[in-house]
């Protein structure tokens, strides 16, 4: 006679150290083995889309900061590009250059937190602190420019809120020189640590076709080995002028598309961001950063979908304009929201300890998932 068994339901979150905020996972476990993962969202639903409908176009920018709060500039960037496309604004060269440098600095800052918290989830707390220390350098560069540490409201429709500081170029170069050896140090400390590899290689394998079908993007998609980066494949701003590579998961430590690959893609992406910054920072043309900002933002009737490559993937803004000063509808296609959906697929049949490794490697920000 077979024994009747019952699965234990374990609630992970919303208050749990490794759910990166207020995600709640409902795990059905059998001993330590996870049979099913059901994510429950909405613990940080801040009604962005309702606010966007009630605000004027330029007033929405600060709210976009708070979507993916680790990559605020990327959010501003996407929104500004979308409205500019709708209105047909051409921004000055100087603005484009500064935007790209800032976005890449922000990408590094964001990846630092992502990598660090992935390590911290697996138990390596110290690299997390090191990476936060390095992040402070980036924050201080941006703070000197626009006065805020995290939520900048920096990229405006048609321009920027502030011109760069006279010291900006020197400090950015200093940072690039400081940061290059740090990546090597990080590799030695964490990436090629035997235990870390054991914990992440061959765990949570995401095949390419599943990833595409689930709409995954960013490092989550590239970790599966496909070279798809909006900066290259659907170029926006001036990214087509720079020479950089798109790192993809190659399965160095296990299978293509495992957690280690996704982790590694982020590190290699930071190197490429440094390359872009190096190329851009020497060529910033002179000019006024606010000359193209329209006096009154009133786009014509129409719809636009504009997407940019945020650190976490494809950030898209779908804007419907009804010809008034308020947007009729703003929908955010948040990369974390879409990437998180893969979690249920990846976690089947793994152990409880793997769930957090997988979740860390997908790298979600709840502000963006719940909006």
């Amino acid at each position: 006679m077979a024994l009747k068994t019952e699965h234990m339901v374990l609630n992970m979150g919303p208050q749990h150290p490794s759910t990166h905020g207020v995600l709640r996972l409902e795990l059905e476990i059998e001993g330590e083995l996870v049979n099913k993962v059901t994510p429950h969202l909405g613990y940080l639903h801040r009604c962005f889309e309702k606010h966007a409908e009630a605000m004027q176009y330029n007033q929405v920018v600060p709210y976009t900061d708070r979507l993916d709060y680790l990559a605020s500039i990327g959010n501003n960037f996407g929104y500004a590009l979308a409205v500019e496309k709708l209105m047909g604004i051409q921004v000055p060269e100087r603005v484009e250059y500064i935007r790209v440098i800032m976005a890449e600095l922000q990408r590094i800052a964001s990846h630092l937190v992502a990598i660090g918290s992935n390590g911290a989830d697996i138990g390596a707390l110290t690299p997390f602190l090191y990476l936060f220390r390095d992040r402070e350098h980036i924050l201080s560069i941006i703070e000197e420019t626009c006065g805020a540490r995290m939520l900048y409201n920096y990229i405006w429709i048609g321009g920027l809120s502030h011109d760069i500081h006279p010291d900006f170029v020197r400090k950015t170069k200093e940072f690039v020189n400081y940061f290059k050896p740090t990546i090597v140090e990080l590799d030695n400390l964490l990436s090629f640590n035997k235990i870390f590899i054991e914990r992440t290689a061959n765990i949570g394998i995401l095949p390419v076709d599943t990833a595409i079908n689930f709409g995954a993007s960013g490092p989550t998609l590239r970790g599966s080995g496909i070279k798809f980066d909006l900066r290259r494949d659907d170029p926006y701003s001036i990214y087509d002028r720079f020479d950089f590579e798109i790192p993809v998961g190659k399965g160095l430590m296990g299978t293509v598309g495992d957690c280690w690959d996704r982790y590694n893609v982020r590190i290699r992406e930071m190197e490429q961001s440094l390359r872009i910054i190096e190329q851009a920072v020497d060529n910033i043309p002179e000019g006024d950063v606010q000359s193209a900002i329209p006096k009154r933002i009133k786009p014509p009737k129409g719809t636009v979908y504009k997407r940019v490559e945020n650190p976490r993937g494809e950030l898209g803004y779908f804007i419907i304009s009804d010809g008034t000063v308020n947007p009729f509808r703003v929908k955010v296609r948040a990369p974390s929201f879409v990437n998180l959906e893969v979690l249920g697929e990846l976690c089947k049949g793994n152990l409880v300890a793997d769930i957090i490794a997988i979740l860390g490697s997908i790298d979600i920000v709840l502000g963006e998932v719940d909006r």
Binding site: M8, L10, H16, P17, S18, E32, G119, A120, D121, I122, G123, A124, L125, T126, L129, Y130, R133, L189, L190, N193, I195, F196, E198, R199, L351, V352, A353, D354, I356
Partner: protein, 355 residues
């Protein structure tokens, strides 16, 4: 030890009290200094400063923590099994505290000069498992339960390689008494077991590599037995919130903490007794050279504590550097690697000792 203090004071009661209280004081001190050091060491490793507001250099931080925990409400869930819930921390603490009875701090400072010292320590420290299981079960919390299960599996598995290595030392020295094992490694660090023991000859040199292997195995497995990173899966913060003591607060939780640090020192002490000469100085005694006989036990205690603290620092260093293993990897490390190597090591040491 009792005799020593009886001679010193001439009173049975005082002598007994001193003998009984000394390990307790030591455990408390170890926890007090250990927690402070842990925070400072982690701060230094992580490019921080660490506690520095409470007293000079933040030295009273742990005192403040302890006093605060005394004041905390004893909040419990209504669904707990209160008997087991209340016994568990006491049992865990007893397990780690009782081990101190047989540990020789110096040639005079030893609770019980039992002939089966090492056997006693191995046996009594298993009491901890019972306490942890009780804590996990009685808390009526799924995280506690998972943590307790992991912990039980882990501690029981890792006792095997520990025991095998202890066995090989026992075979080599021919005694179970911790006191005698220490005494065999006297005079110079060259006589320590890790360097093949005191007897000169071919066997000593043959022994060295296998003693090193033995030391590594016992260090790893004792690390696992006291639930330290990279083997801290029972209380894995990012997975199980706080493992088996998730539901404990205030002083009851402090007892778990005390026993953790107590255990850390205990296993460090065992490792240093088995392989690093116990309380014996590596370079000879000042007391001998200047002819002050009574100084020697104090010097021995100093060396013993120094060795113990050295290993605690190594444990902390590992904790703040390495990631954590997964539960199945932990088991496979034990059963597939440590135990077979320990067995082979045991046989080879046995053969060499026969030579």
């Amino acid at each position: 030890m009792y005799q020593y203090f009886y001679d010193l004071t001439g009173n049975t009661i005082i002598a007994t009290l001193i003998v009984a209280v000394f390990p307790l004081v030591n455990v408390l001190l170890v926890a007090l200094i250990g927690v402070y050091l842990e925070r400072k060491v982690s701060a230094w490793i992580q490019d921080r400063i660490g506690p520095n507001r409470t007293g000079p250099l933040g030295l009273f931080q742990t005192v403040a923590d302890f006093l605060k925990m005394l004041q905390k409400e004893d909040a419990t869930s209504t669904e707990i099994d209160s008997k087991l819930y209340n016994i568990a921390p006491v049992l865990v603490f007893t397990g780690s505290f009782a081990a101190y009875a047989a540990i020789p701090f110096s040639s005079k400072l030893i609770g019980s000069e039992a002939d089966v010292g090492i056997f006693y320590v191995l046996a009594i420290s298993s009491l901890v498992v019972g306490g942890i299981l009780m804590a996990g079960w009685a808390s009526n919390n799924k995280y506690s339960m998972l943590g307790a299960m992991r912990s039980a599996a882990q501690i029981i598995s890792y006792e095997i390689p520990t025991a095998i290595i202890v066995l090989s030392i026992v075979m080599f020295t021919g005694t179970l008494s911790l006191d005698k094992i220490s005494d065999m490694q006297t005079a110079s660090f060259w006589n320590w077991n890790i360097f093949g023991g005191a007897e000169l000859g071919l066997t000593k040199f043959l022994m060295i590599p296998f003693m090193f292997i033995g030391f590594l195995i016992i260090f790893i497995s004792t690390l696992a037995e006291v639930n330290r990173t990279p083997f801290d899966i029972p209380e894995a913060e990012s997975e199980l919130v706080a493992g088996y003591f998730t539901e404990y607060c205030g002083m009851k939780w402090a007892m778990f903490m005390l026993s953790e640090y107590g255990n850390m020192f205990a296993v460090s002490a065992i490792v240093s007794i088995l392989f690093f000469g116990g309380y014996h100085s590596p370079i000879g005694y000042l007391g001998n050279s200047i002819g002050v006989e009574w100084l020697i036990p104090f010097e021995q205690a100093f060396w013993f504590l120094a060795k113990g603290w050295f290993f605690i620092l190594v444990q902390m260093w590992l904790r703040w550097t390495l990631p954590r293993l997964r539960v199945d990897q932990l088991m496979s490390l034990c059963w597939k690697y440590l135990i077979p190597y320990a067995f082979v090591n045991l046989i080879i040491i046995g053969i060499i000792s026969l030579l």
